[in-house]
């Protein structure tokens, strides 16, 4: 599967909300999309293109905005696909993928607590790796490694 094939399938469904498909090393391509199109894109990618396996969800802090990326795998094409969308730093929201791929659940919890991406309609957006009440987003660039943090941790199960 080539980037052009992906555009051919996705462009009619998404229209202008599809920002383009670019080559990406080691995968079928990277699909850039507007976050409003998230759910439509997820369904199209799973049902029309056959990417039934969501491998991971991650966030990148580019300081002026944040990026959410999804890595998918298709058993038929034996290929990976990367989806990527930009969200503003002051409103880092995107629709959850867990209604389409249940495996997104924990990956999104991690991206929420470490990079601060908020996943709308996520069934269970709780802390996973960091303790409850931990208010820092360690994977943001503003979180410096060499400065002490003030931390007050609530007990998990009282």
């Amino acid at each position: 599967m080539q980037p052009d094939d992906l555009t051919g399938v996705l462009a009619p469904k998404l229209g202008v909300r599809l920002k383009g498909v670019e080559p990406f090393p080691g995968t079928a391509g990277r699909v850039r999309f507007e976050r409003e199109a998230a759910l439509d894109l997820f369904r199209a990618v799973r049902d029309d293109l056959g990417f039934r396996h969501l491998s991971m969800v991650g966030g990148i802090d580019w300081v002026d905005h944040r990026e959410v990326f999804y890595v998918l795998w298709s058993d038929d094409a034996k290929q990976y696909l990367v989806l990527s969308t930009d969200v503003p730093a002051d409103d880092p929201r995107v629709e959850t993928a867990s209604s389409v791929w249940p495996s997104a659940n924990w990956h999104e919890r991690e991206a929420w607590e470490l990079v601060g991406i908020v996943f709308d309609h996520h069934p269970d957006l709780r802390h996973l790796l960091t303790p409850d009440g931990y208010e820092f987003r360690p994977l943001l660039r503003s979180f410096k490694l060499h400065e002490p943090e003030e931390l007050e941790v609530k007990a998990r199960h009282v």
Binding site: P25, G26, S55, I60, V71, W101, P102, W106
Partner: protein, 381 residues
């Protein structure tokens, strides 16, 4: 009867590491589960942003303490992608050798822990003893038994010591004979079947939906192995089969892992033969000096490459002993990666716990979770 939440962990013999399985019980029946991880979270992805590319390798060993070399390999492929480096062929074969030995060592560790959970003590000692043979081999060429720091961006650190391949063949012969005994001890035992058959069933469609990979997925009959589907290093030049089972239960996972060890031995014999006849460099020549290649020739232009790498993203995935691991390395032109993201296969496998635990009884938890092969180091990172 009323329901109650019970904590199995973080200190519990079943967990094999520091994590907590919260179980909602109705009598003995499991109604719901809520795995809790994070006790071992060290922020490896964050620390990586503050380190040179080669310094991250140290962290990879700590990612999974039973498969350190495989994690090094994962990160190395992604970094070389991002930095546009091409390692020599001998280094690729050495990496495959590390991967496959690590697979056997990891599965032996799993075997030892798993069979002990279901009440067989002797195999535990057998598994640990045979794993030590592999650790001895690792020690002879990396200098360490657990945290190896052997792979390098652009190759591997050093070549093998004299006599290594002959010694390796003896170990492989020994292991081949031992695998027969392992099977007799487990598959020939009624206790084993009573505790494992038809437990923790997770069908292929559920595996895919919940992101489960590795031996758990192959035990459900789905032929998916990155070494075949998307060959990295030199796996496309090696002859081996994908281990499969169709029962999708605990016994199936045992069968798959035992077969994987046999196939790993088969791969290792081919690799060792190749290494005997193809001496050569183990480090790429264009590696810049700051990436550290003390035992390898450094090209004349190497030093100039510093800070001049094109921006880019490296993506890699390897078939780790536990499943499919992925790395996503963003390079912004500096000496440190801008962002590193890892996918841990066990992370996804545990997150599906509700699918394969609910409906069984509390005494079934140790064999089921044992068959998942949890390694907390890579879950929490």
């Amino acid at each position: 009867m009323s329901e109650m939440w019970v904590n199995m962990g973080p200190q519990h013999p079943m967990t094999h590491g520091l994590w907590n399985l919260r179980v909602l019980l109705d009598g003995e029946l499991i109604r719901d589960v809520d795995p809790e991880v994070g006790y071992l979270h060290r922020g490896i992805e964050k620390i990586s942003e503050d380190r040179h590319y080669n310094e991250v390798i140290t962290l990879m060993d700590r990612c999974c303490y039973v498969a350190g070399l495989t994690w090094e390999h994962l990160y190395i492929i992604a970094s070389e992608d991002a930095l546009h480096l091409e390692p020599p062929e001998r280094a690729l074969y050495l990496r495959v050798m590390c991967d496959e030995f690590q697979r056997i060592a990891s599965h032996l560790m799993w075997y030892a822990a798993f069979v002990q959970d279901i009440g067989l003590m002797t195999p535990f000692l057998y598994g640990m003893r045979d794993r030590d043979l592999i650790l001895d081999l690792f020690q002879s060429f990396t200098g360490a038994r657990m945290t190896y720091e052997y792979l390098r961006v652009g190759g591997v650190r050093n070549d093998l010591p004299p006599g290594f391949t002959d010694h390796t063949r003896k170990v492989l012969d020994w292991l081949t004979a031992r695998f027969v005994d392992y099977d007799k001890l487990c598959l020939g035992s009624d206790i084993f079947h009573k505790r494992c058959d038809n437990l923790g069933v997770l069908k292929a469609a559920d595996c895919v939906a919940h992101g489960v990979t590795g031996p758990m997925l192959r035990s459900a009959g789905l032929r998916r192995d990155l070494r075949k589907d998307r060959p990295y290093a030199v796996y496309n030049q090696l002859d081996f089969e994908v281990a499969l089972a169709d029962s999708a239960d605990v016994t199936g996972r045992y069968v798959v892992r035992m077969e994987e060890m046999r196939q790993a031995v088969r791969i290792l014999r081919q690799v060792v033969d190749w290494l005997d006849h193809h001496p050569g460099p183990v480090m790429a020549e264009q590696v810049p000096r700051w990436l550290g290649a003390p035992y390898a020739p450094v090209g004349k232009e190497g030093y100039l490459l510093k800070r001049n790498y094109p921006k880019g993203v490296g993506f890699s995935s390897v078939e780790e002993p536990h499943g499919e691991a992925q790395a996503y390395v963003v390079n912004e032109g500096g000496e440190h990666p801008y962002r590193v993201k890892f996918r841990s296969p066990v992370f996804a496998n545990i997150s599906a716990a509700r699918q394969y635990l609910v409906g069984y009884r509390i005494a079934d938890i140790p064999p089921i979770m044992g068959s998942v092969d949890v390694c907390v180091g890579e879950v929490d990172r």
